[in-house]
Structure formats: C-alpha cells, structure tokens
Subunit: 346 residues, 4 copies
C-alpha cells in the first residue's frame, strides 16, 4: 500500500538506489499557492549530511514538480514531484544480495516478494520517507491557510537524555542538530549520541508533536476517529514503537473525576479545537558498525560488519517526516466529505 | 466512517437506545463453519451485567443472523447480524437533550451533526462496540482455521494495581471479573475498583494482547504496515490513549546492538511469524456518580449529577472488543490481494 | 463487492430465500427528513405481484428501519433497513442443488464459491435489487432537497414494441403495468408480453431515464467521470446489455460541427446542469416455462423444466431499481469531497 | 479521481502542455518481466503524427521508468513512469485563457476549479490518455502471462463507413492507419475521413474489442460485476457515448429462449472463460477548423476559429487506449482478494 489518505491522497514511489523517488498528490485543492522552494525547505530538514548526527551520504534531494501547478498555484489536478538519486554507491551493497542485515526488513522482503532490489534496502530504506515530507509540505500549506494550524515537532528524549520540557523554547528547535527545544538538553543529547557513535552503537529517542490552531470537528466517529488515523500514520514510519496522545500511557493510573477535566483536543474521535499533544517512541538505527551476526539466504549465520553510511540515531531527521504525516492526516480530514455532508441540511 | 477493513470489511450500525445494533460482514470466505453460538459466546464476554465491575443495564445481547450463512457455513455473500435493544430506559436521559455530559462526546456530536440521538450517547455509546465483537468472532474463526492463530487479551493493570506478569496463568483470565491472568493480582484489582466505586470514582487500566501462531508476511510495506493497521484499529476504541508493540515506549532508551536481537514479530511492517505483544492504556469511564459540572447547549455551566447505569472501569469488558479488532486487522491482511499478487509469478 | 459509492455508501445483503434482505446506508447527511412510508412507496413500485407482468410470488416487502433515524430525521449515523422474506417456497428449488438453470448465474456461483445457497439463485436473484431501491429512496430525497432534481424512468421499448416518444406523457408512466409513457404504446406492449407469456417465452426491452434539475459540476475528471459512474451503476444490474447517454450509439455516424452544438448535460465528465438522457437495453428473463436443457454438477446435459414463479419481462419492475442506482450515483457525487476541496481556496 | 483500480492501481498525472505526464502503478506483482521497449511499443500506437488521420503535433512520447523495476523484472513496489512533453507550442493557446472552445471541457473546468491550465485543455486534453496506455502495457503483460489472454481492438465503423466484419482479418489491423480489420473497408474509411477533413469537419466511429482466453471467475457479484467495471473504464474515456457487450443494444428485441443459448463470456457478473465482445461508439473530435461560435469568460458569444493541430477523427488512436483500459480492468480483478478468499476454505 503506497497511497496515504482518502481525500488528500499521496501515492509514493522509489527505491533507495533506483533512478528517483517521489510522489503524486491527488485531491489537493485548486488555487493553493506553493513554490518549489517551499517544498525544498522541508526536504532540507530531512536530507542527509546535515551534521555528525546524520549519515554523510551526499544527496542534494532536489525536488522537481512535473504537473498540477500552473503560474504558481495548484490547479486541482494531480501534482507529481520527483527527486533523482545521485550518490548511489551501489557497489557497497553487492554482498547484500544474499545476506540479510540484522534489524532490517531485508529478509521479510526477500521472502514476501521473491525478487527485490537489495541495494540499501531498496524501498524499505528510510530514504522512502522523503516522499512523505513532500506530501507533508503541501498538507502543511493547506492547514496553514485554513486556520493557521501549526504542527511543531521536537526531540523530547534521545540516547537516554530527557529534554527539560519546563524550559521549552520553540525557537531553539531548528538551531541544534538534534531538534531539541532546550539548548542545554540538546548539548547533553549531542554528547550522548557522539559517545554512542564512538562505541559503534546507535540509540533510540522520543519525539513530541504539538498541534495548535487545528480546525474543530475533524475526524469521523467509530472507525475513522482522528486518534486512530494519527496512530496509523505515525506507526507507518519504520522505527516507531509507541504512540500516545493526551494523557497517554498514564491513562492506566488516572481517575475519572480528574480525567474529565482534561482538555486533550479530541473528544469522541473528533477535534475540539484545543491543542493536541502526541508522544512517539523511536527505536535505535539498526545499522551499527560493530561486528554482528547475520543470516544468509541459505539460512547460515555468519559474522557481519556493515559498510555504507548510517545515522547513529533516527529522531532528529524523523521530526519533519512525522510532522508531515500528521499534516497529511489533518489535511485529509479537512477535505473529507463528512464535513460537507453534515452542513448540507442544517 | 463505519466500515472497517479493505478485504474483510465490517460495516456497523446502531445507537445505544435505538431499535437494534449490528453489522454486515463482506469479504468473508465461503465455506467457513460458524454458528450463532460461536458469535454469542464472544458477545457474552462483552455484555453488561456480568459482575459488579460492569453496568447493571440488563441486555441479553442476543444475535440474529439474517444472511450469508447456509446450512452452517458461509457462502461468500455478506453476513448481516443484528442485536435488538431491550432495556432502553430512555427516559433517564431526557435532560441530556440540552446538557452535555463531561468527558463524553455529546457536545462534539451535537455541533458536528446538528441533529443527534441524545439517549445514552446515541452512536457514541460504548454499546457500539458489540458490533466489533461480532466482526471479531468471524475474524477469529478465519485465523484459527488458517494457522490456529490465537489472540489472547488480559488486563495487565487496573485502578493502580499492576498484574504480576511473572506468574502469568492464561487459564485464569476468564475466571475472574477483571480478566487478569493472575488470581492474586485480580483480587487486588477488584478491591481497588470497588473502593473507587464506593467513592463514586472511576479508574483506568491497561490491556495486554498476545498474538500467537500468526501467519508470516501479513502487512503491506510503506503505508500499510501491520503495526499501523493495528494501532488504528485499537485507537478507534473510544477510551484508549496509547498503543505500544514490541519494546514499546522503552524504545527511547534502547541501544541498537540489543534491539537488533529482539524478536518483536514484525519487521518492515510485515509479520515474521514470531509472537507479537501489544500494550494499550485505557482511561477511566467518564460517567461517574459524584457531582460534577456540565455545559449546556446555551453555554451555561451547571451542576451535574448523572443517572443511568455505568461501569466503574472499562478494561475488563474491553478485552473481547480489542481482541476482535486485532483479529479483524489480521483477517483483513490474510485476505489481502498483495499475498496473492506476489505468489503469481514465482 | 456489496458496497456501492464512496461518499454515500450503500452496503447490501440478503439471499432470495434467506431470513431477510436489506442494507446499511453510511454517509447520509444528518437532518434529512424521511419516513418509512417514503421508502415503502419506492419498494412497492418494485415488489412482485403487481400485475400479470410480474411474478405472483407473494411478498409484502415491508421495510423496517433499525438505526440512523431519530424523531423523523437522519442523524448522520449509518441507517440499517431490513425486509424479511415471507413466501420463500424453498422446496420448489430442491433439485437446483445439482442442476444449473440456463441463462442464470447458478453455475458460475457454484464454482466460484464452492458452497452456495441454491434456492432461487440465492444472492444472484433479482430479489437482491430491493436493497438498491431502499438506497435509491434516500438518494432521491437528498437530490430532491438539494436542487429538486428529478430522475424519471420509463419503458421505451418492450417485446419488440417501441414507445411513441413523440407523445410522451409523464403522468401516464405509473398508471400502466409496463411503465410506458404513452397509453397506446403501453397497450401494445402489454399485448405483446402476454402473447409471449402464453408461448412460455420471455422478452427484452429498453428503459429510458431522464435526469432533470441536476446540480452543476458533479463528477470528477479522468477516471471519475460521471458517465463512467452511471454506466457502472446501471451495468451492475443483472440483465442490462448496453448503456448510452446523450447521442449514444449514433455517435458513430455524427459530424463534429453538429455534435458541438448538442447539450448532453455532461462535459469533460462533469454535469453542466442541462438535462441528461440515458438509454438502457435489457435482455429477456432467463426463467421461461418451456422445456429447455440444463447442465448438472456432473456435466450432464438434461431436459429441464423450471418451476417457481417468474416475470415474463424485466423492464417494468427494473425502472425503480435503475432510477435508484442513478440517484445513488448523483448523491454520491453531490457529497464528494472534490466539490468542497475546490471551493476552499477561491 | 486520478487512480484507476482497487488491486492493480494506476494513478496518472500530467497536463497537455506541462512538464511531463505519466503514472504510478501500484499492486503489480513482483517478478514480471517487462522492458521500456514493451511499454514504448504500446505508446507508439497512440502517439501523434502517425498518419494524416492524426494530429501533426510532434511528440516522441519517450517513456522513462523511475522505480519498481530491477534487473528487468518488477519487484512488487510502485512503478513510476514519465513522458516529458516536447512540442508544447503553448502560445497557440494564449487566447484560450478567456475563450471556451466549443465541445470541449474548458468551461466546466474553469468554473469547477477556479484556476486552470488553459493550454490545450490542460489535463482535460486527450493527451492524458498516454498514461492509460502505459498502465495498459503492464496489465496486458500480466494477462498474457496468466492465461495468454488477448485483447484485440479494431475500428468497426468510421465516418459513416461500416467495416466488413464477415471478412475480418486480424493481421490487417495494425497495417492501416484507421485500424480496421478489413483492407477494403479501411480504404473507404480513409477516403471518408479525408473528405471530412477537407471540409474542416470531424467524424465519429465505433470500436469493437474482442477478449480471448480470459481467466474464469473474474468479477465480483452485485456491485462489482465485470461488465460494470468494463463500462466504467470505457466510459471514462472522453469521447465515448455508448457501451455494449454480448448481444448489446439488440437485447431489447431478444427472446428468452434464444438468449439463454448465447455464450457472452459473462454470467452473473463473472467471466465464464468464453470470449467477450464489446462495442463502443465514439463522437467526433470537437476541434474542427471551420468557423464556429464560442463563449467567453464574460458570457459573450463570439466567432471562433481554433488554431493548434488536431485529429479529424478519434477512434484509430483510441484503440490502444481502450485496449489498455480493458486490460487494467481484468488485471485488477485477476489480482482481487475475492479469488484468494474463496479458495482458502475449500
């Protein structure tokens, strides 16, 4: 399933070392002003080589728009965007035809599909998420225009360091390479990540997303509850292991009299207009440079040392991806017929 | 959105105090043996009045099959099942036409739809979930026949009491009214819930679900990852606030070298055949009998004491509902074209 | 596939000799006034036993609404409607377990599904269409309220008799049992049908549908063109063999300079607000009482005389079914997000 | 709606004078051998400039594959294909910003979308169909591999000339520029088209499609009948005005005893394995070079002479497009879960 959304639909394509990656966005309203630069700005937040926190793979990740935009505005037709791969370094991966990397999806893809592109994980590579960022850029524009909605992600825990959320400074997020909203916490996180990297280790972390100024009444009761749509979108990003909203995991220890007074931004599966808070836990990068063991096509277990270039931790580059997914969920709901439906016969 | 699933599709209907609730199941394979008793057994696990843990509302919740089954087996056509409401006690709710119960979806539904059934929350009532249990009964049969798959839910925390998971006894689950897998923990939970009830309070809890003997290669990469489908299904149940699988929220503190050795049952969004573990946190019942304040249609804030009959805690009756949702997700994937697609040209 | 529509979704169920048939309508706007009588009136136009033109099977076809309507108006939740079978006379059909009726779908269903309800064709019976009429009743109400849209079907040819369309009298249609809009033509049609019936023969015919006062801009370019949606809806009714709109089959002999001046009500797949004309050709009823040959489960070809009760011709009872399908297509489009989408950023 | 299919899904994009057109194909099985040349061969049958029957617009229509194919075979991931526009000649169209061409969709698009690409009709141009041909090339490969299925289209009537179908010669079809299966008829058609062209006129025609060696049991009863899916696919091509299968429009004059003996290749909405015959009537090209009148944005009616380069008739170039649509319908059904579903519990 490579299409996300029912109304605002993003269909993505592309393998890590193929010709290009990209997406078609169908269902975007006509008349939306958006430029290549707007999309590129989001892509640059995700692209590799930003800092020592990220893989040194050199990719410009330059987007080209092929359709759907005329004289600076959308025309209601499908918008096709592509990003050509440059630094493919495919030879590094030749031995991966027959050896499955530990912690990666290589083995599952091999047996599910029979024939696969083994280079850098092919389509199961994290590079797939660049198309999500493109879709997210359009979704953010829609939400911004609709209600000045803001979707603000930051890294709230990394490598065992928890951010000081009491001294939250939104302006700090894009200033440090770990996307933490507190400078002091950011410095501790960087130190902890670099320490792990020196030990050929990788580390997990947590992303928190705030949603502000969201339109009321988004989401559809029963099976289309907005929290379900958000959870599916977030959990469709490879390394995520938990999703919480509102009181989250603490719900299990909560009392009704207190819970009834909370404003969590969602009620009955529908947005109330209040802020929504999401917390997402992310596992460590599976590619680490220490010696491991790996299974081969023949079922042998061999010593394994991976080459290639890898991030020591995922959350900093995942922030724009998750923001994009959240934006797509809300844009999809904003454009859903149910709203229209229920305004017709008032 | 009242349809769940793409291949195994369950469309539900019904209000808490309407004529009947039920569902149509479309996409169920022909030739599946299933009886009214099989479905009733699952419904009985969810129905009210089982113990002091549950609302005393008297409902037999007797299912009637209208179509799709002939001589004891499915025929590949849509299966319609209905449950008529009996103990509607609608008068209790008359004043709720203009007063929105705290912690409930009443207000959102009122403004989203304009015209609503105010009695007991109408369609936003937890009573809606009985149709999920019916769908789940069919899905479980499919999974059982396919691979003897088992989906076993239990209450792992309740009212502040955490279950002793080291002394897990599956045979205990259905023997105690809180559906805990350890007798001693169950007794503590019961005590804590009754204590809360005496204080006119309600309490939250946690459900853990084990999935055993699941077929390999279920789930579709990128946007159809099995963990995303599970999260959406689970989060579409009203009171849920968090979803975790595998290492869950602890991912944020994990190291790559250790994580790579875990077997979490899912890799690249596809089942591996290993067991899968889910954890779900559930908020307290919003209906409590202590005096609260409530908003009216005119925006006034008044003192509020709710009548009606309510559960002091949700998780024990939610166990069969969540099991059913999980079963529906896997049945849907088991019947997905992608499996067939990728076997054609081998 | 037992669900019709993307926005206004009708999911149907039921076998010819099962417990009940019916549907769930999801996506109907809240606040629509509709009564059981409104639906029953449409069902009565389709029900058996209306005249010598129709099967004498005795069915009241009494509809019961189970959900989705409160105090006379829809509430935006799924509307479940059921019709219980009465005069099932199943024994007439016992030998059909192993013999496939000529011209019916029995054989295909047997081999496609393995296990089937052989009584009266089970779900492949024309009786299935009563659920379409129920869905159509709601769709017509929506269209009527939206723009006083009218969908008027009549039989324009039957048993070799072509109606005198130059003397079209709309008020005549429901006054004669063949639903022809000209009294003289109707009488000729009745005579021709009765003559065929006496010869144990069945006959084909043609239905013409006029659509008036339809909203502008319905339909979605490229794959969602309104004429494609109409064609699919109409062709999904068993006995239909051709679909035409506007100039129809005469397009092949048309010149551009003349065609450019026609108003066909659709341009670029979108409604223009002008009237739309559809023509549908319908094959004869496959059940005839003369001796035929039929294939059995073992591949033998035997002499075959069918019992049961059958219509000598299909079009008169098909008129409300096709009207219903057309109404559902337009209601679905009227409630589509694309309209909303393209009004947002004007 | 720019996606076709449920299982084999083709999402198309592109405007007539934009940067590129193309599609993403999702749901294509892994392991299918296909080359750029295979796709190009189909595109060449549709491309402009083939003969005096077609527009002299110079376009190579060279396809580039961006993803989904590795070492000559599909890998089960989405396949992105693009065709860059070359001979855009956009200036010819400048005055069309404010003047709506007669017989075209310009006016409807303008008012439905508010902001549009007026150059050559933008996305409503027939040039959109090249993406359908690409999707069709993949679908044909799947059907060919599955059962050596053949989908053979030809022009059976053009400019008032009916083909001599009694002397049908399949090998002739691709040898003449009108794609007629009889040389003598082809010559008459060419003469008639050229005569119309000299008079600045355009002409309609009819396409017949034969489907041979199709798998049994494709199609889904009730709303997913294969004839409905075919009709929708065919009618989604702009200039089509009628769709017939089997006995077609003659059904209205047919008798049951005779009809019951026909083999039409479809029964109960499901393929029987017998050949299927489709007939499609096509209106004349709306762009003609004689003086017409046209409406402007302000509602004025002015004299109008169109520049640009246009086909005098549509059917010859439409043959590969309709073949492609038919192939997509069958591939979609071949890969549908329903087949798998109903084989599981045998």
């Amino acid at each position: 399933m490579n299409t996300f959304g029912q109304n605002f639909r993003v269909t993505t394509f592309g393998e890590s070392h193929g010709v290009a990656l990209g997406c078609i966005i169908d269902g975007c309203p006509a008349g939306l002003e958006i430029s290549t630069e707007d999309i590129q700005a989001e892509l640059n937040r995700r692209k590799p080589g930003q800092s020592a926190m990220a893989t040194p793979r050199v990719e410009k990740d330059q987007v080209e728009i092929l359709s759907g935009i005329f004289e600076g505005k959308t025309i209601g037709t499908p918008i096709a965007c592509i990003v050509r791969n440059q630094d493919q370094a495919s030879k590094d991966y030749d031995f991966l035809r027959t050896t499955f990397r530990p912690g990666h999806a290589d083995e599952m893809w091999h047996f599910k599909y029979g024939h696969r592109d083994h280079r850098g994980g092919g389509r199961s590579s994290g590079r797939e998420t660049l198309a999500r960022v493109i879709g997210g850029a359009f979704a953010k524009k829609i939400l911004q225009k609709n209600n000045e909605t803001q979707i603000i992600g930051h890294v709230s825990a990394l490598a065992g360091v928890t951010a000081d959320e009491n001294n939250f400074d939104e302006s700090e997020i894009e200033k440090n390479p770990v996307r933490c909203a507190n400078r002091e916490s950011a410095e501790k996180m960087i130190e902890a990540v670099m320490e792990a990297k020196r030990k050929s280790e990788s580390v997990g972390g947590e992303i928190t997303i705030q949603i502000k100024n969201i339109a009321k009444y988004l989401g559809s009761p029963v099976f289309g509850k907005i929290e379900g749509e958000l959870a599916r979108a977030i959990m469709s990003c490879g390394a995520v292991r938990s999703f919480e909203y509102g009181i989250g995991k603490n719900a299990k220890n909560q009392k009704g009299s207190i819970q009834n007074q909370r404003k969590e931004g969602i009620s009955g599966g529908i947005t109330t207009g209040d802020d929504i808070l999401l917390k997402i836990s992310v596992k460590p990068t599976p590619s680490i440079s220490q010696k491991q063991t790996a299974q081969t096509l023949n079922g042998e277990i061999n010593d394994f040392v991976i080459g290639g270039r890898h991030d020591p931790t995922i959350p900093p580059r995942l922030v724009p991806v998750l923001e994009g997914m959240v934006a797509m969920v809300f844009a999809d709901q904003l454009l859903a017929p149910v709203d229209r439906i229920n305004q017709i016969f008032r």
